[in-house]
């Protein structure tokens, strides 16, 4: 070779992959065959009957996910922040909260809230006659609270790491240019931490989606509860469960795309 790098293998840029390579075509054919078999040989006649209820269930799941993740995240920001900045008593409180919630199963928390707290509430006549009772006697407030608290605890930990990971120099620059603490937090610290935490938050939100079916155990009607009903009514096992898997897969794909978009708004250079 003419250059001085004769000892090194030449760098060959990877060929752009085509969708039409033989092994891919084969895999696609196999997959299409499986789907075709599923459609042809399995029973789907129940679908039109339960279609509207399924849509309602999907909607309930999405509403549950959106609000528990949103409010949970709003709680996670101060939970993460006080662990980095203090004051110490608050930092300890936040740490204890995160440890307890992350250290116990979500299902257990859900049942403790619903069967425990729910039945305690029921013992107070004042509460039973108050305007809150129509809400408190339903199941969803307990499911909602449990999911929200869980998300707040896990994301509190994520945000603690993200806040701590923002380079000190950038915060110092904010101070050096006369930013107040609030401005520095709003303009520099929080957006920087968010940007760092986004990939983790994406994964955690997908996990949260897959935690939502737990609320079906306390009679909240989400998409999983609808599918359970289908199984009871029709004595079918695989068809409803396969459809359920497909639904969660699609929802996950949507979440991933949304977070990818958010991440791509600020490019990061791989170090």
């Amino acid at each position: 070779m003419s250059d001085g790098l004769s000892g090194l293998p030449l760098y060959v840029p990877p060929k752009p992959r085509s969708l039409l390579e033989p092994h891919r075509l084969l895999l696609m054919a196999v997959f299409a065959g499986i789907i075709l078999c599923a459609i042809l040989f399995m029973r789907w006649d129940w679908l039109p009957t339960y279609g509207p209820r399924l849509l309602y269930g999907v909607w309930q799941t999405l509403v549950m996910l959106f609000w528990t993740a949103s409010i949970g995240f709003l709680l996670a920001v101060p939970i993460g922040l006080v662990q980095v900045t203090g004051p110490r008593p608050l930092a300890w409180l936040a740490r204890i909260f995160c440890t307890i919630i992350r250290g116990t199963p979500l299902l257990l928390q859900l049942w403790l809230l619903y069967y425990g707290l729910g039945s305690v509430f029921a013992q107070y006549p004042e509460l039973r006659s108050s305007f809150l009772w129509p809400t408190l006697r339903q199941a969803w407030p307990y499911g909602f609270t449990a999911l929200m608290i869980s998300f707040a605890a896990y994301e509190g930990e994520v945000m603690r790491g993200a806040f701590a990971g923002v380079p000190r120099g950038e915060l110092e620059a904010a101070r050096a240019f006369g930013m107040s603490r609030w401005t520095a937090f709003r303009r520099i610290w929080l957006p920087r931490a968010l940007h760092r935490a986004l990939p983790t938050l994406a994964g955690e939100t997908v996990l949260q989606l897959k935690s939502t079916p737990l609320v079906a155990t306390i009679t909240v009607i989400d998409v999983y509860a609808v599918i359970s009903k289908v199984r009871q009514d029709t004595y079918l096992t695989y068809e409803p469960l396969l459809l359920l898997a497909l639904i969660y897969l699609c929802l996950t794909a949507v979440l991933v795309v949304v977070f990818r978009y958010l991440e791509s708004r600020i490019p990061t250079r791989e170090a």
Binding site: P167, G169, E172, F177, G178, R192, H195, P267, R269
Partner: protein
Amino acid sequence: MCGPAHLGPAVTVSMTGSAQAIDVSNLHKRFGPLEVLKGVSLSARQGDVVAIIGGSGSGKSTFLRCINMLELPSAGTVSIHGETIDMKKDRHGGLMPANRRQVQRLRSRLGMVFQTFNLWQHMTVLQNVIEVPVHVLRQPRDQAIEVAEALLRRVGLFEKRDAYPAFLSGGQQQRAAIARALAIQPLVMLFDEPTSALDPELVGEVLAVIGDLAREKRTMILVTHEMKFARDVASHVVFLHNGIIEEEGPPDAIFGAPKSERLRKFISSIH
């Protein structure tokens, strides 16, 4: 040309051509048992370029950082344009600013340039430069952009205005950081070893920009290891050793005819 008026000397000299820009008197700084500054006084008039030189551990960076209260002095006073920063005793017997607002206001008139650039990584170069004018000094956004673009053109980064800092070389980042500091129309520029973190081949481009600022009679205080540069641009050189001013004077006297033995050794060790 757009808005050259914004690029002139930051402050019209009100009284005389030699108004006080910075006046530091008898500054002490203690880190626990270690006294880093043992009574340093320095005053600079408008248009002065003060270079602070000294070995590592001599306290020169700490001194610079005390001027805008990034480090809180243990004793002594700092005045900027005749306004003394109000200090009060803290719990541990040191000093702290009595009036946070005053410190923030004065900081927003001091253009600090850091050794490690400290650009805000989640913002483009242009967003970095307009951040403080828009969100601290409350200037209209269009005006800030106009000024910023002129400044970026001047430091040779106009084409990079929409790039994120991670995609720039060290020299480009430091020039962007200088533009960010200039954008606040600073009373005084503070340079904290602006070329120490740069690859040798990138030092020149940054020094060229700083030299340019010195020639247009901007008030600046410059902590540096670049002796030749200090000799060329400084109007006054201060040699710090072990937290006290060992020797000071015009650059020709300091570098041409050093009086103290330590300064002689220091200069010969650098060359």
